[in-house]
Amino acid sequence: MSVVRKAAGRRIFLAACGFLLFVCLLGAGDSPNPRAKTYIKKLKNGHYQLIVDKKPYIVKGACYSPIPIGQNHEYDWWSDPNKPWIADGKLMKEMGLNTIRIYQPGENPEAVKRVLKDLYELYGIRVIMGHWLGFWEYPCPFYGDRFFQDKIKKEVFEMVELYKDEPGILFWSLGNENNYSCLRDVNIWPSEEVDKEPDPQKQKAIRARIYYSFINELTKQIHQIDPNHPVALGNGELVGLDFAKDYAPDIDLVACIIYRGKTFGNLFNSLKATFDRPIVLAEFGADAYDSYLQKEDQNMQAFFLESQWRQIYENLANSKAGAGNCLGGTMFEWTDEWWKHDENNPDSWKAHDTGAGWSNGSYYFDIKAEGNKNMNEEWFGIVSLSEELENGLNKRLPRKAYYVLREFWSKPALNNTKKRVKK
C-alpha cells in the first residue's frame, strides 16, 4: 500500500469520489490512505508535494548528529544530560529550520522519544528517521542472506513500531548510500547467486535486484505497520534507480545523498526520467574550510549552500521552470563533528583537524589543494563548536551560512541575483 495519492481537480466532486473510492478500496486492503497525517500528493501537472497535517510542507532541514568535542560517533547523545537538542532546537527554530534527519535512532527508546517530543513540542521540528540497514556491519552487509535480511527487518520494524505514533516523525528513510554496495565498490557483499556469475556487469545487476527487492519488502511491511508516514529510499546519487524502478516500486520517495557543488545539474529531470518519485535532498552541502589557503572560509560554504537551496526551491511543486518533484532537503550538517578526520585516533577527536579526506572538483575554490583533497569532513557544520562550554555543551557558533539561509528561507529569492552570496 502506498501513501502516494493523486490530486483532485474539482474539489467537491473529487472529494466525494475520493471518499467513495477510499471506502471501496479500504475493503480491498490496497487503498491510498486519506487519513494519513503525512503523505505525498501527486498534482495534476505531475509535480509532487509532501502534505503534513493537511498542508504542503517544504523540508527545510539539516542532518543532525551532535557529537561533542572529544567524542566520536559511538557517543550516546540521546542520553546526554545536557540535552543538546534543546539548545540546537532553539537555534534551528530561529533559523527557520523545520526538520532534522537522523541516520538511526539511539538504543534507548525512552531517550529517543524524549528527543522527538522535545523537538516537536518546543520547536515544531520534525524528524526524518533513518536506519543504516546494517550497511557498516562487519565484514559487509549480506543482503543476499536471508538471516541477515531477517535481522535487519526485525530492527527496522521495531523502530517503526516504537516511534510511529510520535507526532514529530515526518517519514522513514531506509539506508544511506547502501546502493554503492551493489553498484560501486563500497562494502561489496557476496552471495551464492552473485558468485556464480562471471560477468561483473551482471554481478552488479544481480546485487541491485537483491538489494532493491529487499528494500521493497521492508517498504511494504512498513506501510502495513504505519500507513501514516511515507518511506524513503536513502540512495547515493541516482545510481541504481533504474533497478529500483523495477524492484522497489512501493518506495514513496527518494532521499538522495549528493555532493555536486553549486549545482545539482540534471538531477531532478533525470530522476523523473528514471524513477518517477519525489525527492528530498537528504545529504548535500559544503564544508567551511579552504584546503588550498588553509583557513576557514565561511563565505565559500555559504556560497554553495545558498546556490543549492535556491535550486531546491526552483524544483518544488508548481515551480515555473523546475521539475516540480523536489520536496526539500536536509543539508549536511547541523554541527561540526571533530572526530571524523582521524576516527581511529581518540586524541584527534579533541582537535579540529584541517585535513581533507577526499577530493571533489565541484567544490572548486580549493581544488588546487595538495593532492586535490578539498573535502574537510570536520567542517561541514552550519554551526561550529567552541571548546568553551555553555550549559555543559560546546558553545554553538552559527556560521555565515546560518544567517544566509535564515534570510533565504524567510524570503526565497530565486531570481534575484543581487541577493546571491558572492564568493
Binding site: 560477468d199 561483473p200 556487469q201 555536486r260 557543488g261 549545482t263 545539474g265 540534471n266 529531470n269 533525470s270 526520467a273 528514471t274 571533489n360 572538483g361 565541484s362 572548486y364 581544488i367
Partner: protein, 393 residues
C-alpha cells in the same frame, strides 16, 4: 581594394594605437576600441603588424617559416608559409605558433593590447595541396593555465579546419569575450596524427575586426554522429585525450595504431602496465575540451541530440577488465551537465561494440566527452586494449 588604399586606410585607423604601443607597451595594455580593425599580420614588415610569430610550441623543430612567401599571397606582396614536417622533433606529436606581443612573451611580461570592441578575428589560409588539417586556430590563452603574471583575458579556439588548395577566409567569433588584455593575438596548432605526412600551408591577412553584426556564440547544437575518434587524421575527431588520471605513468597512449583497426586506417592503442607509478593503483584517461579542462574553464559541446555513445573495443589477449567507460561527469566551476557509465567490461579479443545509453540525460554541456578507467587489482599484469570509432549518435 588596391593595396595602397588599404594601407592608407589602415594607417589612418591604426596609427593612434600603434603610436601608443610604442610608448606604453611596458605599462599597460592599450585600448584599440576606437579602431574598426586591428592588424595582427598583413605583410612582411608592414608597419601595422602588431604581433610577432615568435611563440613556437610543441615540436618546434618540425616547423619552418618563410615569412615572405611570394608564391601567390592572398593580398600584398607576401604571405606566411609554414612547413610542418610531422617528425616529432621534440617527441610531442603536436606543434604550433603563437603571434605574441612582445615577442616570446608567455605571460611573464606586460604587453599585449586592449582589444575591447573587436568582435572577430579573420584570416586567410590555404594548403599547398589541400587536405592539410589545422587542429585549431586560436586567439588569446597565453598565461591562463598555469596562471602567469600577465595572463590573457580570454581564450577562444576553433574546431579543426581542413584547408583547401585555394585561399579561404576563416573567422573566430569573439563577440562577448573579454578582450581587455590579449598578448597572444593569434595562433595555430596541429598534430602529427592529423598530418602524418606533414603539411605546408599559407596564412595571410590576420586581423581583428569590430563587426557589430557578430553576436556572442552560444553553444551550437551539434549534429550527429559526433565523433570523438574516427581515424588518426580525421578532422571529425573532437575532444582531446588529455585527462590522464591515477597512475598516469602506467599508461602509454598511441592514437595512430595500425594494429588491426576496426575501421579506417588506424585505431587507438592503450597499454596499461599496472605498475602503480603514482601509487594510485588505478588509471584512466578523459577526453576533454579544451585539453586539460577539469571543469575550470568554459568549453565543451552541446550534444543534446545524442541518444547514445558507441565505441568499438578489443583486448590484446581478451579478458582485460575495464572498470568503467564514461561520458561526462567532470565536476568543477563549469561542470558537465550529466554523466553516464557502463562497466565493468571484460574485453573480448575480437572487436566488440559497446554502447552508453544517453536517453533522458542532459547532454547540453559536455566537456568530458569520453573516459575509461581500470585498476591494478583486476589487471595485475596490466592490460593492452584498443578503441575505435568512438562517437555520439
Amino acid at each position: 581594394m588596391k593595396k595602397f588604399l588599404v594601407l592608407m586606410f589602415a594607417a589612418l585607423i591604426i596609427a593612434p594605437a600603434f603610436a601608443q604601443e610604442q610608448t606604453n607597451v611596458a605599462t599597460k595594455a592599450e585600448p584599440a576600441a576606437a579602431a574598426k580593425e586591428f592588424v595582427v599580420y598583413s605583410d612582411k614588415n608592414a608597419r601595422n603588424n602588431h604581433y610577432i610569430p615568435s611563440g613556437w610550441m610543441g615540436d618546434y623543430g618540425d616547423i619552418k617559416l618563410n615569412d615572405q612567401a611570394m608564391d601567390n599571397p592572398y593580398s600584398g606582396a607576401t604571405s606566411m608559409q609554414f612547413s610542418y614536417s610531422s617528425k616529432k622533433s621534440q617527441a610531442k606529436g603536436w606543434a604550433g605558433v603563437y603571434w605574441q606581443n612582445p615577442a616570446n612573451n608567455w605571460g611573464s611580461k606586460k604587453g599585449g593590447f586592449d582589444l575591447t570592441g573587436m568582435t572577430k578575428l579573420t584570416l586567410w589560409a590555404r594548403g599547398a595541396k589541400g587536405g592539410e588539417v589545422i587542429q585549431k586556430f586560436k586567439v588569446g590563452g597565453i598565461g591562463i593555465e598555469p596562471k602567469a603574471t600577465y595572463p590573457d583575458s580570454a581564450e577562444v579556439e576553433t574546431e579543426p579546419v581542413e584547408l583547401t588548395d585555394t585561399w579561404k577566409q576563416y573567422t573566430i567569433n569573439l563577440a562577448g569575450k573579454d578582450l581587455s588584455y590579449i598578448s597572444g593575438g593569434f595562433g595555430w596548432v596541429t598534430t602529427s596524427d592529423l598530418n602524418p605526412d606533414g603539411a605546408t600551408f599559407y596564412i595571410d591577412d590576420i586581423k581583428f575586426e569590430a563587426d557589430p553584426a557578430m553576436k556572442p556564440e552560444g553553444k551550437k547544437l551539434e549534429g550527429m554522429p559526433f565523433y570523438i575518434y574516427s581515424d588518426r587524421t580525421s578532422p571529425k575527431n573532437h575532444f582531446i585525450p588529455s585527462g590522464w588520471m591515477g597512475d598516469y605513468g602506467d599508461i602509454k597512449y598511441e592514437g595512430a595504431s595500425k594494429e588491426d583497426p576496426y575501421l579506417g586506417d588506424s585505431c587507438i592503442k592503450i597499454i596499461y602496465n599496472g605498475k602503480a607509478a603514482q601509487g594510485a593503483r588505478w588509471a584512466g584517461i578523459f577526453w576533454q575540451n579544451p585539453a586539460n579542462n577539469w571543469g575550470g574553464s568554459d568549453g565543451g559541446y552541446d550534444l543534446s541530440k545524442a541518444a547514445k555513445l558507441t565505441f568499438w573495443a578489443r583486448g590484446a589477449n581478451g579478458g582485460e577488465r575495464i572498470e568503467e567507460f564514461k561520458v561526462g561527469g567532470i565536476m568543477g566551476e563549469y561542470s558537465d551537465s550529466d554523466s553516464a557509465t557502463i562497466g565493468p567490461v571484460i574485453l573480448n579479443k575480437e572487436w566488440t561494440q559497446y554502447s552508453i545509453d544517453l536517453k533522458g540525460k542532459d547532454m547540453s554541456y559536455i566537456i568530458g566527452g569520453f573516459a575509461w578507467a581500470t585498476n591494478i587489482d583486476n589487471n595485475p599484469e596490466g592490460a593492452t586494449f584498443y578503441l575505435d570509432e568512438i562517437k555520439y549518435e
